[in-house]
């Protein structure tokens, strides 16, 4: 069994499934705004999320994610604050939070390291990578939340991991130390193996782009949003007529000649 899914007796995924309910206790109500202190930044963020949707309840996941960023995990205190702002019961939020893998209702390490252990990654050795990462962070559970994860959608760099949202791969067990060291030092994790800098695998792609596509790792800047303006300016000199751009007929490259 993979250590991915925490399971309790009888395969239940819900902690406390076998604990009796305290019938004498009143159910938790929607917290009273007059007596519930809420972090002002968190409140502002949740209110902004609620304003985006026709029904403010849609903001539940973004609000819980914001609270998790603020408090580290979804503690009862965090839940109460979200419930207070959103006018929902803590029990409702709990039902949502326990459903999603990225929301944690128990204390977790500061940095999330998700190792994909799905079919493609496992075939290429993801489980030893996971073991190595678990071992490397064994004495530091406060800083690291290393866990196996479902398919992260990056089988092209299998076996891979998501380190605080940054996809890196392909990994070997020996990379565990480097990853841990980089996270501790606040450096970029394995910059040469980040997914975001990888060009597309299709050799016949980019037919409309003049010049050969940049080799893997050769892009100077990853296409991270705000930085795009400079990159665009740098490449702005290339003449690009409209006719070149949207003509499906003129790039009839031989799809058949590869083999």
């Amino acid at each position: 069994v993979s250590p991915a899914v925490r399971r309790f007796e009888h395969g239940s995924r819900v902690p406390g499934w076998d604990e009796a309910v305290d019938l004498a206790k009143d159910p938790a109500k929607v917290p009273d705004p007059a007596t519930t202190p809420v972090d002002p930044d968190l409140r502002a963020e949740i209110v902004a999320h609620m304003a985006k949707y026709p029904d403010h309840r849609s903001a539940t996941i973004p609000a819980l994610a914001a609270a998790q960023r603020r408090f580290g995990w979804l503690s009862p205190e965090a839940m109460e604050q979200v419930a207070c702002v959103m006018r929902l019961t803590p029990a409702y939020l709990d039902s949502v939070a326990t459903f999603y893998d990225m929301l944690e209702t128990e204390p977790k390490g500061r940095h999330d390291v998700y190792v994909c252990t799905n079919i493609s990654c496992s075939m290429l050795g993801a489980r030893p990578v996971l073991d190595a990462l678990l071992e490397a962070t064994e004495d530091d559970r406060e800083d690291f939340n290393v866990r196996a994860f479902e398919c992260l959608g990056a089988c092209d760099i299998a076996p891979m991991a998501s380190v605080d949202g940054v996809y890196v791969g392909p990994l070997e067990p020996g990379d565990a130390e480097a990853i841990v060291a980089a996270v501790r030092a606040g450096r970029e994790v394995l910059p040469d193996r980040q997914l975001i800098r990888r060009p597309v695998a299709d050799p016949q792609a980019n037919t409309a782009v003049p010049g050969p596509p940049a080799a893997f790792g050769a892009l100077e800047d990853p296409p991270v949003p705000p930085a795009g303006a400079e990159a665009a300016a740098a490449h702005g000199a290339q003449p690009m007529t409209d006719d070149e751009t949207r003509e499906p007929g003129d790039e009839q490259t031989d799809d058949e000649d590869d083999a």
Binding site: I119, L124, G153, D156, P225, D255, D258
Partner: protein, 440 residues
């Protein structure tokens, strides 16, 4: 023919400036100069089929939305979690404006006034890129009220999920978007009639919507000339597993699988051959090395007893044990089952337990029959197809590789010191059958 990938690695393509220089938002202008019905007609003529897994015709789906002035919704399904699939990630990260343009055109054709992109929570970098692109598009007047002087008014909100495979199922996605647990809903009513906030809703995959501007640009009839008669256009395939060049490839539908696996992705390592492959993500029944010469399109894959699904080919070579693959597959679905329907919740759990017995040698070949019957009883008995998505591939592995499973059981039993599973005794006339599995 490259349509979606023709300039995918252009530096800065994720910015509005470069995208517009590459001809971006020109097709939107063209669409807005037509009537919504004409745009819808182009989409129907193109025969563009949904790229998310079901392969339903996109134009037809959009035409199901009722007419009227009520709030209608367009939702882009960017919760790409099907194991083996990573094509939408590439599109959103490198060309987010193409998706936004496609969404605006689709909204115009279907008459929706609010739109959402539901992106999986793990795609944090991609979500940031999309968020910036949406802000740029709104700034430039492509999103908002009276877009480019037309009657079209559209809002676009990026919604981040928090890690749940089931939220890729359209009705579960809607529940999740409404701020609930992502449980699938009973169908009918279909989302086209009663979807998000009980309003008419059109849900499409990222790749489908990204293709929409090109369909409008070249015309539906022109697009329909690419590919086969019933599977038109190009498709992104995500090839992974034991191949030397894994990645996304844009192919014309109808290309032989061998050409994709060997020609494009480089095939398995030296000395290995393809034992099996998932043709459309881990939910599709596996095909064997003998099926490599089939054409990769919706109908051929369906005829071969599998499906094109999301277009994710996972290649399994000789060196990998099918028992392991079956166990990894089943474990995933057990974890991801939302727990609403009993056959799926219990069936996935039991299948994992039985596969663990196979793995450790506690099983007998009879367990394979039980497993097959469990799979049979999941299929078609749940609200959504998550249970089926485990039962079909695992069932197909047992069916096609039964010999390997049995061999594995015998070897594992021997290692565990349990003796052979089946007593090598013929049943006696009138006597009791020897009990299976206790021969040690």
């Amino acid at each position: 023919v490259k349509i979606l990938f023709k300039d995918i690695d252009e530096p800065g393509l994720n910015t509005l400036e470069v995208y517009e220089r590459r001809g971006g938002y020109r097709d939107l202008r063209k669409a807005l100069s037509m009537t919504p019905d004409a745009v819808l007609h182009e989409l129907e003529t193109s025969n563009l089929r949904g790229r998310g897994g079901a392969g339903f015709q996109m134009g037809k789906k959009a035409s199901f939305l009722p007419k009227g002035t009520m709030d209608k919704y367009l939702v882009c399904n960017a919760d790409e979690s099907e194991p083996g699939t990573f094509k939408d990630r590439e599109l959103m990260q490198k060309n987010p404006h193409q998706l936004i343009e496609g969404m605006i055109i689709a909204a115009y054709a279907a008459g929706t006034n609010r739109s959402f992109i539901y992106i999986r929570g793990e795609y944090q970098q991609q979500a940031d890129i999309l968020e910036n692109a949406i802000a740029e598009a709104a700034e430039a007047g492509y999103i908002g009220e009276r877009i480019l002087g037309s009657d079209l008014t559209l809002s676009l909100v990026l919604h981040r999920g928090a890690g749940a495979y089931i939220c890729g199922e359209e009705t579960a996605l809607l529940d999740s978007l409404e701020g609930k647990r992502g449980n699938p809903r009973l169908k009918p009513p279909f989302p086209a009639n009663q979807g998000l906030y009980q309003g008419p809703t059109l849900i499409n995959n990222v790749e489908t919507l990204s293709t929409v501007p090109h369909v409008i640009g070249m015309g539906g009839a022109e697009y329909a000339k690419i590919g086969t008669e019933t599977s038109t256009g190009t498709k992104l395939v995500s090839v992974s597993g034991t191949v030397s060049r894994p990645g996304n490839y844009e192919i014309v539908l109808g290309t032989p699988v061998r050409e994709i696996v060997y020609g494009l992705a480089g095939g398995p390592p030296e000395g290995q051959t393809v034992k099996a492959f998932f043709p459309g993500g881990s939910s599709s029944p596996v095909l064997t090395g003998d099926d490599l010469d089939l054409a990769y399109d919706f109908d051929t894959m369906a005829k071969a007893g599998s499906m094109l699904g999301s277009g994710a080919i996972i290649v399994i070579d000789d060196s990998v044990s099918m028992v392991d693959v079956a166990l990894w597959t089943a474990e995933f679905y057990r974890h991801e089952s939302c727990g609403k329907c009993t056959p799926c919740r219990e069936g996935t759990n039991w299948t994992v337990k039985m596969l663990e017995r196979v793995e450790s040698g506690l099983a007998t070949p009879m367990d394979l029959d039980i497993m097959a019957s469990v799979c049979e009883q999941i299929i078609g008995n749940c609200l959504c197809v998550l249970g089926d998505a485990m039962a079909m591939p695992v069932g197909s592995m047992i069916e096609k590789f039964r010999g390997e499973f049995e061999e594995h059981i015998e070897h594992a039993r021997e290692r565990a010191g349990l003796g052979v599973s089946l007593p090598q005794v013929e049943p006696q006339e009138g006597g009791p059958y020897p009990a299976a599995g206790v021969a040690a």
